[in-house]
């Protein structure tokens, strides 16, 4: 008798919890929570990359400019200078829609490359270097 009394409430709870009206929203909530956790761990606004010349050699002292989309136009947000190994780091990207370009007098300038991010201030490591060309 006791076993039956235990069984009935448990079965009722199982029916309430294990149905698609609970499981689907719960799965969506879990996905949203995981995504927000990922965003919180990767939204420091860091943009890193390399600048090379036309021959592929690292360029030290090149200026890298970050533009961010504001309303309908891109405006300059910040600048960074490459180190001896041609690597640069920008620390304050606030946007999800940016453009990057590099320049060094005498070496040349790179094309302005658009970059789309999955969320604002997403940490980004450029796969392809910015190539300076046309500096004579």
């Amino acid at each position: 008798m006791t076993g039956q009394e235990d069984f009935v409430p448990r079965a009722r709870w199982r029916a309430w919890l294990l149905n698609r009206f609970v499981l689907v929203p719960a799965a969506l909530a879990l996905i949203a929570a995981l995504w927000n956790g990922y965003v919180a761990l990767h939204d420091h606004g860091l943009v890193t990359g390399r600048v090379v010349d036309a021959a592929g050699r690292p360029v030290a002292g090149a200026t890298v400019v970050l533009w961010v989309l504001e309303f309908t136009t891109y405006v300059e947000k910040s600048r960074a200078t490459t180190g001896p190994d041609g690597v640069f780091t920008i620390h304050d990207n606030p946007s999800h829609n940016i453009q990057l370009a590099a320049e060094k007098p005498g070496v040349g300038r790179s094309a302005r490359i658009p970059v789309r991010l999955y969320f604002r201030a997403e940490d980004l490591a450029l796969r392809e270097p910015l190539v300076l060309e046309g500096g004579g």
């Binding site: 698609r20 009206f21 689907v24 309303f71 309908t72 999800h96 829609n97 789309r116 991010l117 999955y118 969320f119 604002r120």
Partner: protein, 270 residues
């Protein structure tokens, strides 16, 4: 009819289904590709699909805020619809003086478009002090006549002896509705939930009139705002449409069996 003779019907149904689903596919495709709808030749498969139009929508407008507002308003409308329509539907299954007049009034009111009653609705909402509030946004949709008839049809299918037995056992009228009728009317409940949710979710005109602050706007208003200040909206606009449509479609898919049952019962017995 044997199975071999059914294939023309199935073929026709598949053709109609495809014709009805093509616009949805087109919206989905454009939301990930941004292809211009007038591009020639049209591409059926999206070229270089990406999710960034969805990201744009999320950040260009306060999407989370609009979404929360729509969810709150729809939740109020759904709860109120289920509660109020169930009570009204139950009352219409009982005999009382003037019942036929009430039924006639309900049917007549179904023919009056909402636009014709929007000014009195606004004045009443204003007098109640509910302008620019969730309750005010949901108020005109807290009960719908179609859904009342769905409940009425469902309750009429319950044997009156069951109601009499519940009454003899000491249940009040409210107790009979919530403890006897509602568990037997799951299809009607699902129909009420889906219809009231979709109507509330897609409502544009009433929120446009009732809301005063940008923080209280719902998703359809957000869509209009989005259109007003974005020039190249092809991909983002379609992404916005998908994000607005998704909750309604999800709810329908979750409860489509009960929804169809409820509508079929309402159609044959209203």
């Amino acid at each position: 009819m044997d199975r071999g003779a059914r294939w023309p019907i199935h073929l026709a149904l598949v053709a109609v289904s495809v014709a009805m689903l093509v616009p949805f596919y087109w919206v989905l495709k454009t939301s990930v590709s941004g292809d211009n709808i007038f591009a020639y030749p049209p591409s059926v498969i999206p070229r270089a699909p990406h999710p960034f139009y969805y990201v744009d929508v999320w950040y260009y407008i306060p999407f989370a805020r609009y979404f929360l507002n729509s969810v709150a308003v729809s939740a109020i409308a759904v709860v109120a619809n289920v509660g109020l329509n169930a009570m009204a539907g139950f009352a219409l299954t009982r005999g009382f003086a003037g019942k036929s007049i009430v039924l006639l009034l309900f049917l007549s009111c179904m023919m009056v478009p909402f636009q014709a009653t929007i000014i009195p609705a606004y004045l009443i909402t204003g007098r109640l002090g509910l302008l620019d509030s969730y309750l005010g946004l949901a108020l005109p949709q807290c009960s719908t006549i179609v859904c009342i008839f769905v409940f009425k049809a469902s309750f009429e299918a319950v044997p009156s002896s069951l109601v009499d037995a519940a009454r003899i056992d000491g249940l009040s009228e409210f107790g009979i509705i919530w403890r006897v009728m509602m568990p037997l009317a799951k299809a009607a409940v699902a129909t009420n939930v889906i219809l009231s949710f979709i109507w509330s979710w897609n409502n544009f005109l009433w929120p446009l009139i009732v809301t005063r602050s940008a923080d209280m706007q719902t998703l359809p208003l957000g869509l209009a705002r989005f259109l007003s200040y974005q020039e190249d909206t092809t991909g983002a606009l379609y992404a916005f449409c998908v994000m607005v449509l998704a909750p309604g479609i999800l709810l329908f898919l979750l409860a489509q069996k009960q929804f169809i049952q409820g509508l079929a019962a309402g159609a044959t017995k209203a």
